[in-house]
């Protein structure tokens, strides 16, 4: 097992190096180069020269890249052009919001997706199965931002049940030691703040969780259908075990492997892909941060943000691979 983990970690090295090269050269491919991109319309030949000296842009490319790598490995991602604050400081504020949202979305999709897929498989070929297939296909076909707008319209505008923007009401003031607002509200011992934070999470979580829900339901259905016809299931039935025991112990447990894998992969995607949902709900996470950075042409933020998000994505996927190997001994051997 250790050998497997080490091998996977070693495979990560070229990917991370490649990623850093892509991000490094991306900012140098911008029209007018990075100095122009930093200065925008205020650029004059003098200021450009000054910025190039200041950031070492007048040095050979390989020297620049080496310095960039050095800075990045010391968690120095530069300074935001818009706010003049270190990119890592902003990141530390934004990322917890996205984690919170992604976990809430995943919870929603797992709680509804697995039972839906299981029932569809058990009722294979009936109208229920067809309905769940069609439903999940529609779920995959709805652009996430359109679903977000619909949810906002029905539950926030029409019914007025849930808040439509932000993470917490402006009137509620609690300290934020962890930046995870759910956790902060619990630490502050303030139930009304907790309820408020949770209410702010519901709509974005449903919007963000809809696609994973559809995918999890489909995978669960396929996995259960696969396992259902295995010999050991037939044996279990033949020796007279009650259907519920067969479902739980023989079918569901063995179908769990692909389901767990897809949950992990989707979590990685959610952590990185909440751009559209966050924009609709003005949710102050990584997504809105990056979109603002595009509007402001804030390239240090974009460079650092994309690098960080990709890193998280790669690491979560690695974690999924390792967990997969842990629960499935067959992978470790090959």
């Amino acid at each position: 097992m250790l050998r497997f983990v080490v091998r996977r970690l070693l495979l990560l090295v070229p990917i991370l190096l490649g990623l850093s090269i892509v991000v490094f050269f991306w900012i140098r491919a911008l029209p007018g180069g990075p100095a122009q991109a930093l200065l925008g319309e205020r650029a004059t030949p003098e200021t450009i020269a000054q910025i190039e000296r200041q950031y070492g842009l007048d040095q050979p490319v390989h020297v620049q890249y080496w310095k960039y790598l050095e800075r990045t490995t010391h968690f120095d991602l530069g300074t935001s052009v818009a706010s003049r604050r270190p990119v890592t400081d902003e990141l530390a504020e934004r990322f917890p919001a996205t984690i919170e949202l992604a976990l809430a979305a995943m919870l929603f999709s797992v709680v509804f997706g697995i039972p839906l897929g299981f029932i569809a498989a058990k009722r294979y070929g009936t109208w229920l199965d067809h309905a769940s297939l069609v439903g999940s296909l529609i779920g995959i076909s709805i652009p996430i931002f359109f679903l977000a707008i619909l949810l906002k319209y029905v539950f926030a505008v029409k019914l007025g049940l849930l808040p439509s923007v932000g993470r917490i009401s402006v009137l509620i003031d609690i300290p934020h030691p962890t930046k995870f607002y759910v956790l902060d509200a619990i630490l502050a011992g303030n139930p009304s703040a907790l309820w408020d934070v949770l209410k702010h999470l519901i709509l974005p979580a449903i919007a963000l969780g809809s696609i994973p829900l559809a995918i999890i339901a489909r995978i669960t259905r396929a996995a259960v259908l696969d396992v259902q016809n295995e010999d050991y299931v037939r044996t279990a039935r033949a020796k007279g075990l009650p259907p519920r025991v067969v479902d739980g112990r023989h079918i569901f447990r063995n179908a769990l492997l692909p389901i767990v894998t897809i949950i992990g992969l989707q979590t990685g995607l959610l952590l990185s892909g909440a751009v559209l949902t966050e924009t609709v709900f003005a949710f102050p996470g990584m997504g809105t941060w990056l979109v603002q950075a595009i509007r402001n042409r804030d390239f240090p933020v974009l460079q650092g943000g994309i690098l960080f998000v990709s890193l998280v994505f790669v690491l979560v996927n690695l974690l999924v691979d390792i967990t997969y190997a842990l629960i499935n001994p067959r992978i470790r051997v090959s």
Binding site: L137, P143, I149, V280, V291
Partner: protein
């Protein structure tokens, strides 16, 4: 294998049919696929004949003599937008953009991806390793973010979107074709061709590629659906066509949250158009996957 399956095989042996004719037969019997074909046909026809379908021009303003939006009515079935333009006509013209951008970006991703996948899969060795690590790097950046990064570098615009969305699909096609080629490379008919001295390129083009293409076709259909969604997403984020009056579906949704209280149809109609066209491609893609998957062969 069940008795029914064994019998199905025999029937198949009596009347042998090609992969494609059998797939086509099965697609035609699948009601979901029919619905998908209908949706996609409507989408394509509307896009191609937009000037004939739309009662007004997409940019015609002040149709009611005012600059205000108006709810759906007989003369304007989908209502007017905030600038007094007929929403139905704009959605109809929007189909053109979605179809054009979708097809071009998938064509970009598919053609580059296929070349990379074919070269890597057929040549193998260090070329394969380098190309595939490159694809891994591209895949390590989440799709929408990669597209955003490319558009941010190139600036907003139609061509830039096509390039950006196409680029996100390159690694997917490259990996798919590579895997598929690795599987067919060792097939007996390829060995036979090689042993009688058929040149490498001919083996690749006329033996391996045609037999590796079916997963690519399925993925291509599904990629069209993803491309339409991604393009709309970029448009929604304000990275769409530089001229904001362009009737692109995603761009049309950008400001609608502001008017949700007074004019929800502004969001519902372009959004609905996206869902319908994407659903069409997804239904066809799903049906094709089932029809071309050898595990399902001989069942229908």
């Amino acid at each position: 294998m069940s008795v029914a399956e064994a019998e199905a095989r025999e029937v198949q042996l009596e009347a042998p049919s090609g992969l494609w004719s059998e797939a086509w037969r099965r697609v035609r019997r699948n009601p979901a696929a029919i619905v998908g074909f209908v949706l996609v046909t409507v989408f394509v026809v509307v896009a191609l004949f937009a000037p004939l379908v739309a009662p007004y021009g997409p940019l015609e303003q002040g149709l009611e003599g005012t600059l205000n939006f108006a709810s759906p009515s007989w003369s304007h079935p989908f209502g007017l937008d905030p600038l007094g333009r007929d929403l139905f006509s704009r959605v109809v013209y929007g189909a053109r953009f979605s179809l054009l951008i979708g097809v071009v970006s998938v064509a970009v991703g598919l053609s580059i991806g296929l070349v990379i996948g074919a070269v890597a899969g057929y040549l193998g060795g260090w070329i394969d390793s380098i190309l595939m690590r490159l694809m891994d790097v591209m895949l390590s950046i989440p799709g929408l973010l990669l597209a955003i990064g490319i558009v941010a570098a190139l600036g907003p615009g139609l061509t830039q979107i096509m390039v950006a969305v196409g680029a996100t699909q390159i690694p997917i096609f490259a990996r798919l074709l590579r895997g598929s080629i690795l599987a067919t490379r060792e097939a007996d008919y390829v060995l036979a061709a090689r042993s009688v001295g058929v040149p490498r390129r001919t083996i690749l083009v006329s033996h391996i590629l045609p037999n590796s293409l079916s997963p690519v076709i399925v993925q291509g259909t599904l990629a069209l659906a993803t491309a339409i969604i991604d393009v709309a997403g970029l448009g929604f984020l304000g990275l769409g066509p530089q001229d904001p009056s362009t009737p692109e579906w995603g761009t049309m949704l950008t400001d609608t949250t502001r008017y949700l209280q007074t004019a929800p149809y502004l969001a519902l109609i372009p959004g609905g158009a996206i869902v319908v066209s994407v659903l069409g491609f997804n239904l066809i893609g799903d049906a094709l996957r089932e029809a071309l998957d050898p595990r399902f062969r001989g069942r229908a």
